[in-house]
Symmetry: C2
Subunit: 92 residues, 2 copies
């Protein structure tokens, strides 16, 4: 369940998610969580680096967690598979 | 410059890097650094998760750093480009 200050990284261009992060901070958020699974993990790190280096230099990486989620079987796969996750907490 | 206990993640199968990590710990290392750039970042998280969940449950993620490196121009690109980096420190 996404929380209010979560940004879930998918396959859109990085700038879409960068803008989502900046909008949350400008709306008064003190902390936001950038979350991604699987191949989007690299993309999440790109988004965080662009936010803090190019747009909001006072924003710091407060915490990074990695983990594993089990994805249930679907039409393509008959067995559950594991997917890696990342959650990067940014704060002022 | 790679340090003694660094594992640099590239495009080989994850199990190659998992084995490299296990070998370093079995050889007496207390901490190892799993490093990756660009798209290999997702792969680095996969390697870390496999090491600690499947093979070495007493190994913990001690620290995670993300950053940006500037890659110089080469035959394919006439301008320098930025690439994201990750460094995950694992320890017993």
């Amino acid at each position: 369940m996404p929380e209010k200050n979560d940004v879930l990284i998918g396959r859109k261009p990085a700038m879409n998610y960068v803008l989502a992060c900046i909008t949350l901070f400008h709306g008064g958020a003190d902390e936001i969580n950038v979350k991604a699974r699987g191949r989007a993990i690299s993309h999440a790190v790109d988004v965080v680096e662009i936010v803090r280096r190019r747009f909001l230099p006072d924003v710091k990486v407060k915490n990074i967690d990695v983990g594993t989620e089990q994805m249930p079987p679907n039409e393509e796969r008959s067995t559950p598979t594991n997917v890696s996750t990342i959650e990067i907490t940014l704060g002022k």
